[in-house]
Each structure stands twice: as structure tokens, then as C-alpha cells.
């Protein structure tokens, strides 16, 4: 009996360590497969959504393409797996996807208990307010005594109550079971304001009868840092995912864009030279070639370009940069130095 138990535990141990090594070499696996597998949303405009031809588009989607560009010099070598909020973490844990890039909020409990690591905040999201222009309100602090449409039973509802209480404002909440109903009610004038995460707010605005008669207020009342996630235990893979984001940020800060990246190769600026791999061996230390960041920018563009194209000025959503502006422009996006 004892011998059987020992054998069993040995087998288990072996199985686990085998799994561990399999996970420790995500980059190796991806290279062998010839394809990155990326868990994406599939139903969120601007972040992960197919177009009518069935091509994936969006900010989170382009992030995966950037990783593929860095590894394969080909942004199309990604297989996107649409995930639901319910199955996204198991898909990552079980190895069904290599990276989860699906507007996932980085929270302490997720980071510490789910066996995964968050790589970098690619989008600072948070709860915002939309109001009718006719209300002539320009700040959420002027919403005293306002009625607010909100989806029932969400953290959004709790944040709303907290915010109004801490600012000593009277609040009339009007709750609805689904976001669709809440938006409809707001559109028909039942509430002065509608609140949800600001990334969703801009999309909802387009569904209103007259989008231009509504504005999104500048205040963000909750923290929803969205970050791509990888399995815990493969630090070099996490590094690669993190530095994909940092490279895109650095490129924006240094003025390296999709269209000028080839000229920038000749730049005398040492920071640009290190970023684009003209100097130094930074790509090799990630397990890639030294022109890894050049490839990202060549195919996807810098952070600002991806932002503008998918969710910002050049997209129908027109989300303001806000917290996602570079730190030099009053935002929170701070590219770590390549050196």
C-alpha cells in the first residue's frame, strides 16, 4: 500500500514538474507552434471585436499582434480565442492561451490567488459619467441630487453610491437588470446621467438617439487598470509581454511612429538607437532578435497610434487619452527605459 502511495505521489510530482517546465517555456512553445494564441474579448468595441470580414480588431487585439510581430516578424501569426468573463482565467491556467489580452482588471486577489501574473497596465479604465448636454454640467461634482441610471448588482452601482456619499451629494439611483435597459432609460430621459466604465461609456453613447447631445464627464471615480495576463511561473515570458508594452510607450515618447520608423533607424539619439536595436543586445536578452521593437512599431505602431486607431480620435469611439496620456502630457503611461 505504502509503495503504491509513493509511486502515485511520485507520478503526480513528475506530472506537475512536467507541466511546470512546459509552462516555463512559453516562448519556446510559441516559436515551435509558429503561432501565438491570444485570449481576446470578441464583443467589446474598440478592444476586441471582429469586423464584418471576420478579422479581429481592437486595442487588446493589436497588443497580441505586437507580441507576434516581435517574435515572428509577422503580426498575423496570432490565433485569437474568444473568451467569456467566466472562462478567461481557466483558459490561461490550462494553457489554452499563451496570453490573456481581454480588458481584464488587475486586482490584488486575481494577482495573488489565480496563478497568473499581470504584465503591464495597457489601459487605465475607470467608472465615468455620461450626462445630457442640456443639463449644463461639466463635472461629476455638480451632480448633486441627480438621478443616475446604472446596471444592478455591479461594482459600478457600489462605486456610484460610495462616490456620492463621500462627496456629500444626494443620489437617486435608478437600477436596471441589463446595461441595455439602463442606456435606453437614460436615452428616454428617465435619468440625468448614466454610469459605467468609461471604455464602455463611449460605445454606449453611439447607441443613443442623438449622441452629440450627450457628453462624458472628465471624472473617473474608480480604478480599473486593464492589463494583459500570463501564467505565473514563466518570468521570461512575462518580461516579453511587459516589454512589448514598454517599447510601444517608449516609441511614442521618442516620436518613433509606424511611418518614420525606418528613418529613425539612422537617428543619433541613443535612446532610439537602443530601442530599435541599432545598439545593444536588448532583444536577445528577451529571447528575440535585437530588432524586436522595430518590428512592433513597423507593423502595429507606437502606443498612441494603436490607441488613436482603435479607441481614440481616429476611431468612432473617440475616447479621450485622459489617464492614458504619456506621463509627459499629464497621464500615467510611463515607458520604462530600454538600457
Amino acid at each position: 500500500m505504502k509503495r503504491i502511495a509513493t509511486a502515485l505521489s511520485l507520478a503526480l510530482l513528475l506530472a506537475f514538474s512536467a507541466q511546470k517546465t512546459a509552462w516555463a517555456q512559453t516562448l519556446q512553445t510559441v516559436k515551435q507552434r509558429g503561432q501565438l494564441i491570444c485570449g481576446a474579448n470578441g464583443t467589446l468595441a474598440g478592444f476586441g471585436l471582429p469586423d464584418p470580414q471576420g478579422n479581429w480588431t481592437g486595442f487588446d487585439v493589436d497588443f497580441c499582434r505586437a507580441i507576434a510581430a516581435a517574435i515572428f516578424n509577422d503580426p498575423s501569426k496570432v490565433k485569437f480565442v474568444p473568451l467569456t468573463p467566466a472562462n478567461r482565467f481557466t483558459a490561461l491556467q490550462s494553457g489554452e492561451v499563451d496570453v490573456l489580452s481581454r480588458n481584464t482588471t488587475w486586482t490584488m486577489s486575481r494577482d495573488t490567488t489565480l496563478g497568473l501574473d499581470f504584465a503591464a497596465v495597457t489601459f487605465f479604465d475607470g467608472q465615468g459619467f455620461m450626462v445630457h448636454k442640456s443639463l449644463k454640467v461639466s463635472s461629476a461634482l455638480e451632480l448633486n441630487d441627480a438621478s443616475v441610471c446604472v446596471q444592478q448588482g455591479t461594482t459600478t452601482e457600489l462605486n456610484l453610491a460610495d462616490y456620492f456619499r463621500s462627496h456629500h451629494m444626494a443620489l437617486k439611483t435608478v437600477t436596471f437588470a441589463t446595461a441595455d435597459e439602463a442606456v435606453k432609460a437614460y436615452d428616454s430621459g428617465r435619468c440625468d446621467s448614466y454610469t459605467t466604465d468609461s471604455s464602455g461609456l463611449y460605445g454606449e453613447r453611439l447607441r443613443l438617439t442623438s449622441p452629440n447631445d450627450n457628453i462624458v464627464l472628465p471624472e473617473i471615480i474608480s480604478k480599473e487598470p486593464l492589463s494583459p495576463a500570463v501564467r505565473q511561473g514563466d518570468d521570461s515570458w512575462e518580461d516579453l509581454v511587459r516589454w512589448t508594452h514598454e517599447a510601444m510607450l517608449d516609441a511614442e515618447e521618442l516620436g518613433v511612429t509606424k511611418s518614420n520608423v525606418d528613418e529613425q533607424l539612422k537617428s543619433a539619439n541613443p535612446e532610439i538607437r537602443r530601442l530599435l536595436g541599432v545598439e545593444g543586445q536588448f532583444g536577445q536578452s528577451l529571447g528575440l532578435t535585437n530588432d524586436w521593437a522595430y518590428r512592433i512599431i513597423k507593423y502595429i505602431g507606437n502606443y498612441g497610434e494603436s490607441f488613436d486607431r482603435n479607441v481614440g480620435e481616429n476611431s468612432p469611439l473617440k475616447i479621450a487619452r485622459g489617464l492614458n496620456a504619456l506621463w509627459t502630457k499629464g497621464g500615467l503611461q510611463y515607458g520604462l527605459p530600454v538600457r
Binding site: 464583443t43 468595441a45 471585436l49 471576420g54 467569456t84 472562462n87 460605445g203 447607441r207 469611439l317
Partner: protein, 384 residues
Amino acid sequence: MAAIADTPVLYVRTAPAEQLLPPPASSGLIGWLRANLFSSFGNTVLTLACAALILWAVPPLLRFLFIDAVWSGPDREVCLASPAHPEPGACWAFVRVWLSYFIYGFYPIPARWRVDVFFAALAFGIGWLAWLSAPRRDLGAVYVFIVLPVLSVVLLYGFPAIGLPAVPTNLWGGVLVTIVVATVGIVASLPIGILLALGRRSELPAVRWLAIGFIEFVRGVPLITVLFMASVMLPLFVPQQIEPDKLLRALIGVALFASAYMAEVVRGGLAAVPRGQYEAARALALTYWPMMGLVILPQALRVTLPNIVNTFIGLFKDTTLVFVIGIFDFLRTIEAARGDPKWATPVTATTGYAFAALFYFVFCYGMSRYARSVEARLSRSDRR
């Protein structure tokens, strides 16, 4: 005597009386109305209530779906309210632009002809079997149950050896997935269900208990749980390398689930066949399988036909549940598309759902009509 014969008998008519029209109140349109709609006080009230309901609901619906609808355009602007178009109707332009995605999902565009061929082959097979007086229906059955599955896998999944590049199932979507899941569920559930029903009535205890155990277990859990188990739990238990395909997992889950329900439907039919039929079959020296195949099942299935079709229709609609494991079926593709900021308008979601309702209605009503015509044909023997 002759004189009497010559004298015309005055009280006997020589020509038939002229036919009178039935009283106007019992014939023609008025008669029909009186007989069918206003035969009693209660019926009159019901008729008026229904007429009011139709008048209340149908004109706005028609106005939304057709009269005020926008049929074509490049983007959301055409579907927004404008001075010329104060109350925008359905935005069919959105459906037109997204239609190929609704049908094929992410299926690569150069390979979409394969899906079309699959649809045609499937329609041909169903037509062959469904048209009761078609020639060589035995060949049709071979085609549908043996040739078609192989052909479908080769066409849809691909077979690089003959120049059809592989298309992994994560790219399948839309109507394609709905049809594949529903067809596999329907085609698999009937034979498996019949076997389970026979197993449950078997005299062999092992077979009986296995069948009962399976049926009761599967019926005891919701389909959504079966799908979740298949999609979320399974990958945690098996090594990464042999992870079964996600769509395949859903197909197996749906097929097993439908089989358990089908088994109970068929069992009801078996119970309805009089005991004398079994005894008569035995008396003719038929063994178990010929008895079942030639005597019992034909009668049992005829009785249960409405229920079988009911299960099929339920299954067809249940296929939408595969969205919980991240498979984009027809309904899910519409849900995804309605978020497209290029087309987001107040009427986009409504239009998408109206289109979905139309699609499911056409299929389910088609199935139900076909079942009724088969029932009518089968019940002719009862009227003899």
C-alpha cells in the same frame, strides 16, 4: 287504367325544385364568420380582443421592419433619425454589411465556398430523406448518415492532402456553427436515444441500470453545466498536448444531452404500444431486434413523432448556449456585431435580434410544418 296513367299526377314534380340559396346568415363570408369567430358570446369577445391585439401590434411592427426600414448604406449615419426620417426603422443595411460574418464567422474568406458546398450537400441530403416519395431513400440514408459526415469533416475542417487547407474550429462561427451543432445533435440523438430507451426497458439488469444511470444523470444537470464542465474543467485534467477541440467538446456535450431527452421521448412511445403487439411479434417467432425493428419501433416512433420534433426544435434553439464557452454561434455573432461602433445606433440591436428571430422562426416553423405533414400521412392508416 291507361287513362289514369296519362293523367298527369299533380302532386308529383316532373322537374327538380329550384335550389334555394342557404340563408345569408349561414353561408358565405358571413356564415363563416358566424360559425368560426362569433359563434357565442365568449368567442365574440375573444375574436374582438384578438383583432384589437393584431391591430395594436402588427402595424407598428410592419412599419418598423419594412416601411421605415433602411435597406442599404455605408455606415451608421443612414440609420440615425434625421429630419427626412424622424422615426428610423430597422437598420437592414447593418445586417447586409455583417451578413457574411453572421453566416461564416471567422471562416477564411477564400475557403468560404467549402461552407457553401456543405450547406448545399446538407440541404440535398435532408431533402432526399424528407421527401417521402423520393427515389432510393435507402441510398439517401446511407448518404446522410455515412457519406455526409465524412464529406462535412473533409470540407469544413479541411484535408491538406487533397488541397483543402485545414481550418481550425476556432474560426468557425455564425450560422455554420448553429447548423453543425444542431445537425450533429439531431442526427446523433435519435439513434442513441432509441438505444437508450430500449436499454432502459431491457430485461438485462446491467444494460438497464447503465441506461437509467446515464439518462437520469444527464437529465439532472442543465445543458449549460455540461458545456461548462466540458470547456472549463476538462482542460485542467488532461495534459495540454491532447486537449480535445473546443467545438468537438461542445458537440459531444450537446449530443449526449439531447440523447437523454430523446430516450425518454422514445420510451413514452414504446410504452404506448400495446402488449399484444409484443406478444404477437413473439408468436411469429421474431427475435428481439426484428421484433423491435419491424413491429414495435415503427408504431412507437409514429406515436412520438410530435414529441421528437419538439425535442429537435428545442435542441435547435438550445444551440445558442454554446456561447458560454466562447463559441460564436449565430446569435453570438449578432451580439458581437451590434457593438460595432461603426453601426451603433438606437435601432441596431433591435434589428439584429429581429433578424435572429426571423432565422430561428423559419427553421423551427419549417420543422414543425414538415412534422405535421408526416403525421397527417402516417395517420391515414388510423382512419381506415
